[in-house]
């Protein structure tokens, strides 16, 4: 047993994104569609038309689909009059009131379509009958008076989103309504953990691109555990990341600061250089682990569990470590190999390395970008993965929470 209803879309519905949005709404909200008629506008100035039956398992599923289609410009194939319900009190809307978009809107009263005046988002529509003449306008909550005839439900309403101009000129871009849902942090971290677990369960590889802020902000132990337990298969980072991580193992500090007590012990600032100097003396990271110099942390777990790591050099580096690939072309090639093997890439607070890895990824690799700077997240998401999620948060709280989700 299914339920269904028929909607129509008309106009420049392909290039204004309405058809795409209609299909997306139906699929996202758990419905099916059956295109009963589709006439494409065969040239630039001809309009298209689509009549689509929307099918769902039950009314509870169908209703929100129709509502969203409606807000996007679809109209019911068999229009009825709008339902008008008196406001129960001043400043109070009747149950089920229709909440406006910011698009031009008509409302059907006594069989006629009436334009709604003063269109504004998130308002109620109030219909005024003055003898034979009927008018409609938006009202904000504090404009509602008891008894006002407020439109409730979706019936009898027609929304007309702006269409893409036929000629684009001047500075203005055509913006399509993007619902950029912010999501609660803890809940999104849970979802990312699930995606990583799923990738691993399917035999996939997880590559983690990590900046030094991961260590400095206290995320080192969490990432080390993810490497040890096999949730992270490979690390792509720079010289600084590895030095910070190993400084933490050798001295308990990061750039000279004790990451537990936050005190700066004597000569703390030298720890950074000493770490590099000692690892050079040992011959490299693997040798430093072998001779017991490094006993914990991300680099330790990489060596101990035989995980692949690439450290790419940069002109900001101290040292660098013997393991750091100082030639940019050679480093790109190593990164390219890592990128090709990855099924999911976790980019943590490292714009330079994330861009370098991102440049080598096909559009089919899943990407997670975490950075405290929204511009960095936007830039990385724009690089072209088709399956991507960005999170503007603090890696110092993200990594421990992610590790907890995956490991506990």
């Amino acid at each position: 047993m299914t339920v269904s209803d028929v909607v129509e879309l008309e106009g420049h519905i392909i290039d204004s994104g309405l058809m795409e949005r209609a299909f997306t709404v139906v699929m996202d909200l758990g419905g099916e569609f059956d295109i009963e008629e589709f006439r494409v506008g065969t040239s630039k100035d001809k309009e298209s038309y689509c009549r689509m039956r929307v099918i769902a398992d039950d009314e509870a599923t169908l209703h929100p689909i129709l509502h969203e289609l409606h807000q996007s410009g679809a109209t019911l194939a068999a229009p009825t009059d709008a339902t008008l319900t008196p406001a129960p009190d001043d400043n109070v809307v009747p149950d089920g009131f229709y909440s406006t978009t910011n698009h031009p809107t008509d409302v059907r009263v006594d069989g006629d379509w009436v334009g709604v005046d003063n269109i504004e988002m998130d308002c109620a529509i109030v219909v005024d009958r003055d003898g034979d003449s009927v008018s409609a306008e938006t009202k904000v909550l504090n404009g509602i008076e008891a008894g006002d005839l407020v439109v409730t439900g979706d019936a009898g309403i027609r929304v007309k989103p702006p269409e893409r101009p036929r000629d684009s000129s001047g500075p203005f871009g055509f913006m399509r309504g993007g619902v950029s849902a912010e999501r609660p942090s803890a809940s999104l971290i849970r979802d990312i953990a699930e995606a990583i677990a799923e990738t691993k369960a399917q035999g996939g590889r997880v590559l983690c691109v990590a900046g030094p802020a991961v260590i400095h902000s206290g995320g080192g132990p969490g990432l080390a555990r993810l490497v040890r337990e096999g949730y992270v298969d490979a690390i792509s980072a720079g010289n600084g990341f590895a030095v910070h991580d190993m400084e933490r193992s050798m001295y308990g500090t990061s750039l000279g600061m004790d990451v537990e007590t936050m005190e700066h012990p004597r000569k703390g600032h030298k720890h950074h250089i000493y770490t590099i100097s000692e690892v050079i003396r040992a011959g490299g990271i693997e040798d430093a682990v072998d001779e017991g110099l490094i006993t914990e942390g991300v680099m330790y777990e990489c060596v101990d569990n035989d995980r692949d790591f690439v450290l790419a050099g940069s002109i900001r580096d101290d040292g660098p470590l013997p393991d750091t690939i100082t030639d940019a072309v050679e480093a790109q090639n190593a990164i390219r190999d890592q990128a090709r093997d990855a099924d999911l890439v976790l980019m943590l607070s490292s714009l330079l390395h994330s861009v370098a890895v991102g440049n080598c990824l096909p559009s089919t690799t899943r990407t997670v970008c975490v950075d405290i700077n929204p511009a960095t997240v936007t830039q990385l998401l724009d690089r072209g993965s088709a399956q991507a999620v960005g999170m503007v948060t603090d890696v110092g709280t993200f990594v421990p929470m992610l590790a907890e989700e995956l490991l506990e």
Copy 2:
């Protein structure tokens, strides 16, 4: 005389945005289209098909359209083999080389489609014939060797952008390739000036939402001239904006700092409070202008030229001025009236006031957002104007350059 060619699109081409992109490409690049066949996938799992003739005035117009369609996943209806040209030297590509996208790609060699290995963006495709066996892979510039058979032109190439997953679950969103063209600052300011001039020429109204940073960063005189000359019809701002502007007229300072010499004269910090106190004593801004207290600046020009202004109060305000509407509901109503009258809204460095104005705008009003914070620009553009342009720049340099464009 026109030229034309026929391309095909196949797959989930509506909800993955490919049809929209195809139409947009043709129109943006100055072509026309004629849909010769269109079969819509009537349900979620059925694919659609489109055969479209692309028409242009000449080859020079047609070629880039076909190229872009191609990069977006369209294929030529009558495929031919790819053109292979030997690389003239190590690290040097032949003229007209095909530059890859990051999408899965096939290349046609000897009548067969061969998958391209190691897909990566902005690379060349090199074809290797080893006896009967043919393979193709991407190579970066520094991987090219003299004599490599590099694909040139667009013929014989098939790009397959990822399609929107039929089931959306988990944290990953479906990203569509957005070419977010950064534009040279001076050139974009020129375009915005033209849009303002055009709006005025058509009898439209320009509303400027302005934050105190406009005055503090030195943009006051420019904005005052735009008000005087009628390029700005109305000002929507807060108490702070008006006080800064009038402090500049009364004392030559902004928050106590001389905006020309940048020196802090004696008691400079009191100028802010004095300005408010004096305007209160006079009875309001208009009275202060009338009695010669205020002799220049944005507020002066508003009074002198009878331009509408709304000053909305906030809990951060000093004073406030008698003209400031301290009640938030009353202020919203005044802003609503301004917003409804506007044909183009210029939002300058004021998140709070821009959001308040934006909330009242229909989706058809043109919007220009200028702020030094990219997150502010993004947030304002997301609010739903269909015709919008954002610019991440310094109002202290933007306003003088805009005024110069419009007035000189």
Copy 3:
């Protein structure tokens, strides 16, 4: 039993901040000082001189103090030659090497002070004796050769930080070395929790200024617990915060999104308006709690535990709620009362309200600012509390971690 040593400072040591830094170093690192001689430069161009005995409980405490004083420009009163130790290997520094600042530096060899060439931060100093002539220069780690005579320890080194120019002109400000210690996130949250617990233990009051992002990012339940358990005595927020919080209680959503499942239930976008409408109908927040409409959340706990709250209106508001003070002047007065009563203010993701509260605070109130935008944190810290801590992080992870620290 204590240990001590004597250092000297000379030059424009007061207005260049060196004296202040010297006192701060001694106190921060657990020492005492005894000023043996102090001659102040009595006019602008005269230099000052200070001879100070530094006293500590043991060598382990004294040493880092002397080291830091040294880096800041103090010299040992009885200078000895620098210790020179051969580098054990290429790229390897000897134990205890002296790591340079970026200030002009001399090194004492055979009783003479020799200027160090090519001053650069974080390098080693290598001394070269060529017959009678002695020279010294900085070397980075990868420039060190086995056998190089590297300065170790602090003895025999003289650092000369730039002094404040006697005449300030032009755009350049005099910058003093600010050690801006980034701190690991989890560890800093622990310290903030302790400060709150301490304030409460001393009978103080904690005021929390909260933006809607607290609720939207999932921090609502944590903050509600802090209110219930008495760690937060008062809430200063806006209309939006309260509506989001109560929408969560009434519908399980925030701006229409289910904060657990992140799904958008039917008509989700209306929940925001409904919440306001229902609370208006009930008569206000307290009435809505009393009639069982609101059963959990921050506002519920405020009513149930009789905590003070102020909701200040703004021109962005929907509604607003009957409890929201729409007049800006009246709202400021209510905020002023809250601010005067507070001993510690926790500012969470709300620039507007935090600035309004901050404007009313004396400089003696402790302030904690948490925001994901570093510019917001900087702006709030700059407003003049003498005891302040800022944290650039995600409130959606901060609040749960803070609640866990305090309550578990």
Copy 4:
């Protein structure tokens, strides 16, 4: 003829920064000082005392100095009673009213010091005599009533800024009032131009560190002129900067976009790769200039006028160009040579390269940092130049305006 007055400072005036501030105020505002008495607190818990005569050429200079000293905690050596003036009207302050700081404050009435209640910044002090009892409190502008006895002038007021705690513990840092003067953009650019002209007039060298955004945002021609005219002696940049710059010369585009018309010509996206490929074919940048391939732009002017340039490679690079130093250690050495030669460094929109250059600079080199991201500017200014200026603005407008100031 000079005028003078005597002030006293008492307490922990060195380590709380008050002495430094006092000296700075006198010098910044054009005065002289004569220390008449100075007793240093010889140990941590002992207070210091300073009696200082402030001397200036005239009253107009002396007054603001005394005012600022006063706000910072200095008191007049011979205190008099505060001047009380009735408020002329509701909400109006008398001329010369004293505007409060947020520090604890006393006011002297009838020979007695009375504490001011409800201390808050930027308020007036109102004194209330009720019979024998005298009280004083702050009032905001809208709290003033006609006839209120308002303190005017600086006499009879004592401000007590918080002192640095003797024991520092917990998360709170001791903040000192930083007057972070924002300055009008155009006026600050003028000052930077003067500093560059001055450096050149003294025979100094100007090094410009430039990111690709300089070209992309339209700043290329301006920078090229500065190189040609000798205002910039050397360029430190990356591969991308040089490619963008030469692409502009060869094709008129930057990353494929026409920087004048903002149109994307056919195959625009390939221009970037072609530029690299052609320069490789020619043998390098100098060869490309010699054979007439490159005829304008920054790199052209460097070659044509024999200016030094260093292009340091990175893992993000396409190509790279033959001139790009791909090895990070070798590149650092080249950058180090540039840095040591520079007298003024102009850092334009390039975090990576600016940090690399900054790492090699002594603290005495003048530094100008320009970036649209405030966090980048802060990070660069924090690296330790004693003479530095930062500007948060758009290089696309900054460079043309700077060039105009210097060249026209």
